[in-house]
Amino acid sequence: MSNLHQEIKQMIIDALDLEDIEAAEIHDDEPLFVDGLGLDSIDALEIGLALQKHYGIKLKSDSEETRQHFASVNALAALIQSQSNNK
């Protein structure tokens, strides 16, 4: 597990104040919404805020693209990496 992945998992747990789960229990490719971790639309808002706070990421308004970024920890990590490469 890379540092970034670990960091993202901890960020999700902290931002959403999740209980009964440790970072290590979230799988990199597990869906975050609906199945898998079962997050909801308010959680998506919170993650959006946390991404901005921790990584300065602004989400694009194209919601299909955003949905893809929010698919899993892997997808979030890819988003963060691509945005930091662009800087």
Binding site: N3, D20, I21, G38, I42, L45, G48, K53, S61
Partner: protein, 564 residues
Amino acid sequence: MTNLVALSSWLVQAPDVPVALDEAGLISRSDIRNRVAYWCQRLPAAPGQRWAVYHQDTIEFLALSLALWQLGCTVCVPGDNRPVTNERLQRRVAGFAGQYPKSLVPYTERCLTTAKLLRWRPLPADFPALEIFTSGSTGEPKPILKTFAQIEDELEALERLWPEQKQAVVVTTVTHQHLYGLTFRLFWPLCRGQVFERSNCQFAEDIFTRAQQHSRFVLVSTPSHLSRLNPAFDWQSLQLCCEGVLSSAAPLQRADSLQVSELLQAPVREIYGSSETGAVAWRVQNSETEVRWQPLPGVGCTLTQDSTLQVSAPHVQCGRQVLSDRVELAQDGSFLLQGRTDRIAKIEGKRISLVEVERVAEQQRLIKTAKALVLHGRRTELAIVAELTPEGERYLKTEKKRALVHQLRQAFSQHFEPVALPRRWRFVERMPYNPQGKITVDSLQAMFQQDEIKWPRVVSQTRADQAIELTLKIPGQLIYFSGHFAGNPILPGIVQVHWAVHYGRELLGVKGEFCRLEATKFQQVIFPEAEVNLLLEYSKEKQKLTFQYVSEKGGHSSGRICFN
């Protein structure tokens, strides 16, 4: 009278001005009429029937509704298309229209070769146009019928109060499939000729980029979004274009209201009401006092014997309704809200019956009895305390809590929207009955408070280059004290190391994975409620974090944590 076009005769009377907007451009009255004509010929509907309509596209939803009304049918808006909802409706409706499984939809979609020209007819004011559902306190979703007259009277009241801002495009985070959105993001703009966006914004980013495209806009939203607007965006650039913000579904925290108003330099108007009553009151908060809710024009407010609010207005069900909110009512009819009297909770603006949650919980094979409650932590959320069946106990033992919660959430998601799913669960051997044989809300809440606390309170911090000193207050309710040790709680050494790593990563940029401890000593125990200083020093080259817990009693512990 205002200049609103009546919803019942919109197809007949609406002037030929743009109605809505999407990425492709403006949507006109005739675009909508064409779509209505299409549906009038597609839907096998007969006068007097009730049809369920679900469609996420606001324009398609509107066209379906207008078509069904032309065909003499009542539009039933369930708000979602989950299997349980559909099953419940099957006995109630003659057909399903919109985004439903193929098996439910009694028509096929294909292009019409010959579009018949239709003559639109205005509909009678007392026609039962809409059926919506709300959570009743019995736990069963309760149907509420609205006539055109009721819908139109409500819109009249709103228009009399706020006749301005017609040129501003409606940008929204709210779905038209619940009453607030139906009224404020669809019917009101439609009938006053105000252009609205076809689809909803999901994130603050969406609101920001979409609003930028309009020379004037109003934002129709809810506390869920308004409390989470990211102040890091350049909202100032929108200030000249924003004419107002509307919020409903639940009261907005004063701080959130003031922040939004500051960011957008626009009034934040809140609407109070319910499914039974529609909108009945409004307020704009300020920083000085708790602002009272003012009744909408034509709405009368009185107090019941139980100190709850009774409203009377032409648009209210049966002309008069008692709400379940306790209020403090002034002579002029303005009021302050003082909490609900029933077991209905508002979760992110959604009305949830705790009775229904408990009933669904107790339908599960794994649960024997359940109590639902609302917690107000970082987020207002639903929690469940449950006694398990023997099968549930076995499941918990073998599969562990996370798997059990996952399975229960899956089952709940058949019945409830995602934001309304319980987020915290406690499985107990026996409910906390008091000596009177009752389960109090306090005793249930206590179960969640206990293990909330995993961190010390940081009283102060002083930092040097690669070092930092934190003053920490150790809360007595810390979860790590329970069982360590019974009757003689002390802070476990491993927790001290864990905190050191946490603050090292957070404040000193410690990287890498933990690999071992060096020269670790635990000299003096740390008790609950103690105040200690944590000294951290990080050597980037050696990838070692030195920690030391000290207090006026002297050293408590120290050591080096190595990373690779």
